[in-house]
Every structure is written in C-alpha cells, then in structure tokens.
C-alpha cells in the first residue's frame, strides 16, 4: 500500500507539470497580453516602441519556454500574477473564494450519495418491477436536465412560488446552500443512480449470492455485508469521476444563485476578460480534479482487502 501510494504520487508529478504547461499555453491563445490589456484601458493609441519596452520589462519578449519557467517559479512561490481588473494578486483572491465552492460541492456530493446509493440498490433489487421502472425514468429525466434549467426551476418553485428559501443567497449560509446543492445533486444523482444500479446488479449475479441464499443467509445480510462491500470500490471510483462535471457545474450554479465561490469568480472574470484569473481557475480546478481521483484510487486500493492485506499491488 505504501509503495503503491508512493508510485501514484510520483506519477502525479508529470501530470501536474503538464497541467501548468497547458494552463500557461492557453494564455497564448488569448491574443492579448498584460501589456495590451493595460494600455488599452487608457484609451490612447500607444506607439509600438512603448509596447515593446513594456514587454521587455515584463519579460514578455523572451522565448516561450523561458517565460513558462519564470511563470512556474513564481507559481511555486505562490504568485500567479495580478488581476487585470482589480489589480489585486490572483492567488489570494482565488483561495479566499475556494472554501465556499468546496462547501457547495461537498454538500452536493453528500446529498448525491445519500439519495442515489439507497435508491440505486432498491432499483437493482427490484429489477424490472415498478420501483425500478420509476427510478430509471427519473434517472433518465434528471440526466436530460441542463443544470442551469434545474437551478432556475428550483428557484422558481421553492423560492418564488413557495417562498421557502431566499431568492438570492448572497451570504453563504445553510439556507442558501440548499437549492444550489440540490441543483448539483440532481444532475449527479441521475447518473450515479444508474451506475449504482448497474454495479449492484452485476454483483448480485455472482455465484456467491446464490450460494448464500441456498445456505439460508438472509438476503438483507448478503446485500449489506457482501454485495455492497464488494461494490464499494467501483462506487468510489465512479463518484470521483463525476467530480469533474461537479466542478464544472459549480460555475453555472454559483452564478445563478450568486453563491460567492470560485465558479462565480471565474464567470465574472470571463465577462471582464480577466485572463490571469481564468487561468488560475482552470489550473486549480484541474489540479483539484486530479487529486480527487488520486484519493479515490488510493481509497479503492485500501478498500480492497486482497490488495491491502496481500501486500503486493497489481
């Protein structure tokens, strides 16, 4: 297990490096650099010499690789540049908004697991019966709902019509968290419900289930102690994989509910063409995603006693 962990951590290094390279390279697509951005704000036509001088001062005339290495060195010192719009350092601004997004994503994840694991198991056990058909139809419909429509629909029904929740959750709080988290959870649950169902169904088809049944072991005991236990690893992996769409979904949901997290920060930055901020958002979200998947992999290995107790990683 320790060796496996070490190996996975070592494999992480090149991926992280490539993520930074791609994030840096993406800025080149923008067609506008810090100098142009600053000079354009003054509204005066700037002579080319002045532009060149400013670029030389910022090191923007150097080759791509040199610039990247400088940028990377700054990054390692916690410096991701300053925002074009506010003029403040990007990284502290970003980090100050991150907890709100993590709280939202965490709540959505908990809600998803709480809803779709029991329902998915129910659908698998009652395969082909009414409960299964209803859940599958619900999963299909949920899978076809764009998250911004879900968000606006929930807002309309529960905030405007019923008045149960505030329409705008300006201040992060438990009441304001419910609707955004529910929006994200609906989209995730729809997919995860089907995956849980499929995983449990596959496990239920194994011989040991029939064997346990033949020996008179109560079905509920087999289900909880054996079937779910065996599915756990794949369920964790699938959940981690959907973290990608969860992180992307926060951008839309945060801007609909005005939840003050990094997603809304990114959408506002996009509106203002604040490229350093967009770059920070894309890079950190990718790193977060990679780390979440690594943790899920490690959890998966730890959950599998054949690997945990047997010593050798496959």
């Amino acid at each position: 297990m320790a060796r496996y962990t070490l190996r996975r951590l070592l494999q992480l290094a090149p991926v992280l490096l490539l993520i930074t390279l791609l994030s840096f390279g993406m800025m080149r697509l923008a067609g506008s650099d810090a100098v142009l951005q600053r000079m354009e704000n003054t509204g005066v036509v700037v002579p080319q010499q002045v532009l060149d001088a400013a670029r030389a001062e910022l090191g923007l005339d150097k080759p791509f690789l040199t610039q990247y290495l400088t940028w990377l060195a700054n990054l390692l010192h916690g410096d991701m540049g300053t925002s074009y719009i506010s003029g403040r350092a990007v990284l502290p601004t970003f980090l100050s908004k991150l907890p709100a997004t993590l709280a939202l994503a965490g709540a959505a994840l908990l809600l998803t697991v709480a809803v779709s694991v029991p329902l998915g198991v129910l659908a698998a056990v009652r395969r082909g019966r009414a409960a299964d058909l209803v859940l599958r139809a619900a999963g299909f419909l949920g899978n076809s709902m764009p998250n911004f429509f879900t968000a606006l629909l929930l807002l309309y029904v529960f905030a405007v019509r019923l008045g149960w929740f505030p329409v705008l959750a300006r201040r992060p709080g438990p009441a304001g968290l419910v609707l955004p988290a529910a929006t994200l959870a609906i989209a995730m649950s729809a997919r995860y419900l089907r995956q849980v169902r499929a995983a449990v169904l596959e496990e239920l088809g194994r011989d040991y289930v029939a064997g346990a049944r033949a020996r008179g072991v109560p079905f509920s005991a087999t289900l909880v102690k054996s079937v779910l236990r065996c599915c756990l690893g794949s369920l964790v992996t699938l959940l981690a994989l959907s973290a990608g769409s969860l992180l992307g979904g926060t951008a839309v949901v945060e801007s609909v509910f005005l939840w003050d997290g990094v997603g809304k920060l990114a959408v506002d930055a996009i509106e203002m063409r604040d490229y350093p901020m967009i770059q920070a958002y894309v890079m950190w979200m990718a790193i977060l995603y990679v780390v979440v998947n690594l943790l899920a992999d490690l959890a998966c290995h730890w959950l599998d006693p054949r690997i945990r107790l047997g010593g050798g990683a496959p």
Binding site: P146, A251, Q279
Partner: protein
Amino acid sequence: MKQNLRLAACLLPAAALLLAVLFARQLCPYDPNAQAFAALAAPSAAHPAGTDILGRDLLSRILVGLRTSVLATLALVAAAALAGTAAGVAAALLGGAADAVLMRVCELCLAFPGLVLALGLAALLGGGLPCAVLALGAVSWPKYARLARSRTLALLPTDAIAAARLAGDSACQLVVRHILPDVAGQVLVTAALDTGAMMMELAGLSFLGLGAMPPTAELGSMMSGGRSLLQTCPWVVLGPGAAIFAAVAAFNLLGEALRDALDPFVCQGEEHEA
C-alpha cells in the same frame, strides 16, 4: 420484432425534433425578430409561449433558438467524432512515436474536468457560438480517439486484415474497406449518447455569455437574458428551458436505443459507463 418496434418508438422523438429543426422557419407563427407585440405578454392563444421583453413572439424564438442549438450541437459532435476517429485510427496504424504522443495528449485533455477546460478555452478564444463549439470540440475529441485506436488495434491482428493485406490492399484501402466500417458502429453509438450532454454544455456556455450573441436566438442565451424576470414573467425562462430539456431527452433516448440495438452484450436498458 418487438426490439425493432421499441427502437422505432425511441427514434420518434428525435425524428420529430429533427423535422422541427429543419422546418423551424416555416413553423414559426411570427417573425422571430419582429418586435411587433406587447412586451412580456403572458402565454395566450395568439402567443402560446408569451412574448419576451422586446415584444417578440417567444414560440417563434424558441423554434429558431432550438434550430441554432441543435445544428451547432450536431456540428460539434460530428466534428469531434470525425477528428477523434481519424486521429485514433492514424495513431493505431502509425504506431511508435506518433501513437505515444497522441495518447499522451488525450490523457492530458482527459485530466482536465471537461466543462472547466471548455469554459477557459471559450473565454480565451473570445466567445461567440463558433468559439464555444470549438472549445467543446477540443475537449471532447480524445474520447473518440481512444475508442477508435483501441478498436483498430484489436482489429489489426485479425485474419481479415491479414487476408486483405495479402490481397494487396494499400493502407488507404484497408482503412476505408475494413477498419472504418468496424469502428463506425461504436463511434456512432458513443456520438449519439454524447449529443444530449453536448447540447446541455453548449447551452450552458451560452447561458454564461460565452455562446451565441444577443441578436441570434439561442436557447441558453435566451434563458440567461430572462433570468432577472423569473419572479414576474417566468415563461420567458421556463419556455426555452423546457425546449432544451425536450431536445436533450430526445437525443438521450435515441442514444440509449441505438446502444441497446447495436451492442449485443448489453441487456435491455442496462447502463454502461464509458
């Protein structure tokens, strides 16, 4: 026979959607851009979906917007599937360094959460519907490349390919006659399953202001524009939303039916996770 009936029933909504898209202009009761009516009128017999803030008939705008969204989505999925398949087949045939580089690029693309990367790319490309399509396409092709590559690699050592080679087929003929027909089925199913999700993501980018620009009717941007009216005139938001939902559901139904029909190893209605 029963299977075929089921498939036909699942194809029906998608066929209806396609017809509505093709004849959107003819189906419109009014000119979608004419500001000719009372602003923000509630749904009525004359305007089944109401009117928007500029006094345009919403049903007409929804139909034209649906056309924009669906055509852009189809172009996006087709481009991603074609580019990915071409890259994957080429990588499998060439092997060596080209293959290794391509697969590393795919892995890197897949290391990013797709929507986040698309968001960043679309923003850097400058917004507008073509940029949003390009950004999502850049994010989604690796899936097809991996699929086509693994399928081709599985096919290469078979006797059929060896026989074709012996018969004197050039690499080009090999690809056209033997490899593409085999790869196409799986690519088609994957593309069909992907279309609904892509439509949602494209509309999502528009919703965030990175897709179609205001004069063009597009469902995501229509909803974004109507957001502030949710409390007073909900139909401005709910109409286009329902249209996206219906279209995505039709595509998903089509995709799942195709998967069930073309993949003999899947029992009816079982979920495969890519």
